[in-house]
């Protein structure tokens, strides 16, 4: 059983790991991009990116100054048996303390007063999603996404008769329109179906899938490769200044929809694709991956 004090410490470590270090799959994809690019500007950009990742890790500093609006996805195993943890308050406390200690940039602003709360918490902040599963573990994912790429999110409420060819075209047009402002090379997340909210949630959550992982749905898997290939043929390139790596991956998820609607959401993730996961077992041991 994990006690609240340890849980708080673990969550702070989680926030720190996500803010300071990029996952291995993302680093590997960026290195591959550097080797692929030919032009001086694309190479200079990817070189800056790779240097920056190394500096952040060595100096223990946030990779990007936009340390995101804190977002947690909490997955509670039905056999974890420890649901007395006061999640909301501990996660908020961890955010407040991490903001000061790491430090993170205070990004949380009250839209009514236009005032920055100063500690990244406030009404509905941090954002927390809860899910249940059949495991005996508790997992907490921290997903700090910057506003540059978040502002390029799109939601299209299509008519259900829209052919797949047109859906692909809408997604591609969105990407060509928005990629340069999303700090490419990007990861593209697509949410197909559900309600408007589901589509957006799935699109954003799809960004968390490791680069190189295969979609379990064969139809979506081939659509992912096709879209990735087409995006990279448009030549937008790193930071929108030309090149062959505009996107590192396309990840699609789906949900059943209302018979009368077809929402399609597109979420963009900048190259600084930060994510980390805390896994707590029944006996209270935990790891951060």
């Amino acid at each position: 059983m994990i006690v609240e004090e340890d849980f708080l410490k673990a969550v702070k470590n989680l926030i720190s790991k996500a803010s300071l270090e990029l996952p291995e799959d993302v680093i590997a994809a960026l290195k591959k991009a550097y080797e692929l690019e030919k032009t001086p500007s694309a190479r200079a950009i990817l070189n800056s990116i790779l240097n920056n990742i190394q500096l952040a890790k060595t100096l223990r500093r946030p990779i990007c100054q936009d340390t995101g609006l804190p977002l947690f996805i909490v997955e509670i195993g039905r056999n974890f048996n420890n649901c007395r943890i006061d999640y909301e308050n501990i996660l908020a406390k961890a955010v407040k303390e991490a903001t000061k200690e790491i430090p993170l940039r205070p990004n949380c602003v009250d839209p009514l007063t236009d005032l920055n709360t100063g500690d990244n918490t406030g009404r509905m902040a941090p954002i927390i999603f809860y899910n249940f599963n059949d495991s005996d573990r508790l997992t907490v994912t921290y997903f700090p996404k910057g506003a540059g790429s978040e502002n390029q999110t799109g939601l299209y409420m299509l008519t259900p008769s829209t052919p797949i060819k047109n859906i692909k075209k809408i997604i591609l047009t969105h990407i060509v329109e928005k990629a340069a402002l999303s700090c490419p090379p990007v990861i593209v997340g697509v949410g197909l179906g559900g309600g408007a909210d589901t589509a957006l949630y799935l699109a954003k959550k799809a960004l968390l899938r490791p680069i190189g992982s295969k979609n379990q749905e064969p139809l979506l898997s081939s659509m992912e490769s096709e879209l990735l290939d087409l995006i990279n043929k448009t030549g937008i390139g790193p930071m929108g200044l030309g090149g062959s790596t505009t996107a590192l991956a396309v990840h699609i998820d789906y949900a059943c929809r209302h018979t009368a609607s077809l929402p399609v959401a597109v979420s963009m993730q900048c190259w600084a694709a930060r994510r980390a996961q805390l896994v707590v077992s029944r006996n209270g041991d935990y790891t951060i991956i």
Binding site: P40, S41, A44, I45, S48, I49, N51, N52, L55, A56, L59, R61, P62, I63, C64, Q65, D66, T67, P103, L104, R105, P106, N107, V109, L115, N116, G146, A147, G148, N151, K165, K168, K169, L172, T173, V176, A180, L181, C183, L230, K233, T234, G235, I236, G237, M239, G240, L241, G242, C270, W271, A272
Partner: protein, 189 residues
């Protein structure tokens, strides 16, 4: 290149050039732009002169040690948010260089060409790398706007690589790549 920059030198720069800066730069985001223009219209003066200066679209992560500020991470923010203010700021204050990411719109391109200024791109997200090039925080003004929105006066050394993406002759790499991308997309689909 050393600040302050002069028009003649700036006019020699071409889109695609890669440069590094030594000297002083000023961070300004949405609120600082709006405030500077409001002051100008009222006939007021800024707390620091930005004439012939370099404006950096950036909201840094900072830490205060004693009475000294330390910049932890300071990559560029999306420049398009400043589009509604930028042409006026460039014209009224003779700005010579704007540093940001993502490029800017037609009004800014016109103002850059008219005044003799350029738009340079710093790699988005490379916040720690940028912070390594800050020698000192000379001053900070308008902290009441919040840490990201305040006007930070930063002394820099070898600040870059900066890619000149919109020069003073209306060459705009972003819009060129973008129209080519749309053309390729039409051919591909």
């Amino acid at each position: 290149m050393n600040t302050p920059l002069d028009e003649k030198t700036i006019r020699t720069l071409r889109a695609g050039d890669i440069v590094y800066l030594n000297g002083v730069i000023f961070t300004m985001r949405d609120k600082a732009h709006s405030k500077a223009l409001e002051l100008y219209r009222k006939g007021g003066t800024l707390p620091v002169s930005i004439q012939n200066g370099v404006i950096y679209h950036c909201g840094p992560v900072v830490r205060k040690i004693g009475d000294k500020w330390e910049i932890i991470s300071c990559g560029p923010t999306t420049s398009y948010r400043m589009e509604e203010y930028e042409s006026e700021l460039i014209t009224e204050y003779n700005i010579r260089m704007i540093i940001g990411k993502g490029g800017m719109g037609e009004r800014t391109v016109e103002a850059l060409s008219k005044i003799g200024a350029v738009y340079a791109s710093f790699t988005g997200g490379a916040g720690v790398l940028a912070a390594q090039k800050i020698v000192e925080v000379e001053n900070v003004h308008w902290l009441e706007l919040g840490i990201p929105e305040a006007l930070w006066v930063l002394k820099v050394k070898d600040f870059g690589p900066l890619i000149i993406t919109i020069d003073s002759h209306k060459n705009n790499i972003y819009s060129r790549i973008r129209s080519e991308a749309f053309r390729k997309l039409r051919d591909l689909t």
